[in-house]
Symmetry: C2
Subunit: 234 residues, 2 copies
DNA sequence: ATCAAAAGCGAATTATCGCTCGTATTCTAA
DNA sequence: TTAGAATACGAGCGATAATTCGCTTTTGAT
């Protein structure tokens, strides 16, 4: 691409310390968003907190929106990284275990950076390219639908679209609210109970039967069969 | 209260046409929010659309945030007005009917002014006094918990707090997403199916049994196990 | 009809913020 | 060593918006 030798306000690939600059900027955006709120996140403030000048900011980001988008993207990728493996595994599990894993995975995802997740969800006007929370959820939705079709003989007859909508929406809302709005109310212990309840809700819906926990008397956690135990650690 | 005769920027009770002015302002805010988005909602623009001068605006609203808060409040009250009666009725119904009524009521509430509801939910940075969506939902939550305690012998043993959280969160999320994000996908017909599914989800969770639909073709439900499968087109 | 209080007005005043641009500094490679 | 490219700087421009204030118009009680 033909470039004008000077004054190139458009964004730019980076090579050395510029990498650090970009990281610092995104990180500063996150910090300000979480600690001071979206409306305090002026480009000048972001640059200041990043220990960088506004000019440098505009070397790498064409506008303020791009900064927030980059941050949201980074967050999404991080969640995906943490979760992708387990999500794939679930595809081959029988219903009850698959759903349990899904719920656990949703919790884990929301715990990657709850404060940031909340700030992103609540404070960012969902406009333009920032409205793309949808894309992420569309994936979950498609994945779940695929699961339902693959395991259709283990569940009652359902419309895959409608059922996916019901299940994915419920799981997302449950974990989102629990982690982001009630983390005080939900101890780690209670979080396990929440996973149980979410599983019960969705499995009951899909199979029409109550879950038959394998003989554990302790109501509390994860009656989970052994293998499922380890993952919902911290 | 001692008042300074002139220049009283704080807000004010009103008496005559001033009522109309206030209404016009709130209404204009709603229109702009829905049609042009939050960032186009400058005080000057709001006043202009309301057919009023900025000066008048500041007679009644101390700041821009107050305007939006007033609008949100008006919307909440309207939903409550539409829904309060039916909500009370549900308290005395047996589980299955109560839950069905609840889900139907949630849909009805979200249909009061979906566009505004969506704008309020998506575009307004939830900060300060605008973060009060919580209050409203806390009521639903308490109400539901009361129901569970009253009808404890009709359901399996549950922790009322946890179960309320699960049920209220699910119902809210389901109806919110259906009405606000998928209204294209959900015809009136499909909306009935959604009510069926929401009911099934929650009743199954609370009772551990699958719903036994009364003869299909009842007015109330889109039931019809057979017909459930069609019309949620693409 | 009269007048004081209430309501309304809108140009002017602040205030903020996104973003640019000319310049200074640092890096890299020959 | 050194030149040119990459990176960084930050005062300041321009635009937009929130809010004010002195003034006019309307209202309603007397």
């Amino acid at each position: 691409m033909a470039r004008k030798p000077s004054t190139k306000p458009r964004k730019q690939a980076s090579q050395r310390r510029s990498r650090a600059t970009v990281d610092a900027l995104v990180e500063a955006t996150a910090r300000i968003l979480v600690r001071e709120g979206f409306d305090k996140a002026s480009t000048n403030r972001i640059a200041e907190v990043a220990g960088v000048s506004v000019g440098s900011l505009y070397q790498y980001f064409p506008c303020k929106e791009a900064l927030v988008a980059a941050l949201a993207d980074r967050h999404t990728r991080e969640i995906l990284r943490v979760v992708r493996g387990e999500l794939a595994e679930a595809m081959d599990l029988p219903v009850e275990q698959a759903v349990r894993k899904l719920v656990a995975v949703a919790v884990k995802g929301h715990r990657v950076d709850p404060a940031l997740h909340r700030a992103l969800a609540e404070q960012i006007p969902r406009v333009g390219k920032l409205g793309d929370v949808a894309t992420f959820n569309r994936d979950n939705y498609a994945l779940f639908k695929a699961y339902l079709e693959k395991h259709r003989d283990e569940i009652r007859p359902v419309d895959p679209d409608l059922a996916s909508f019901v299940c994915v929406t419920s799981i997302e809302a449950l974990t989102h609210n629990a982690v982001l709005h009630h983390s005080k109310r939900f101890s780690d212990q209670a979080m396990l109970a929440l996973i149980d309840e979410g599983t019960r809700l969705v499995v009951g819906y899909l199979t029409g039967r109550e879950i038959r926990w394998p003989g554990c008397g302790e109501a509390e956690s994860a009656c989970a069969r052994g293998s499922l135990r380890d993952n919902h650690g911290f």
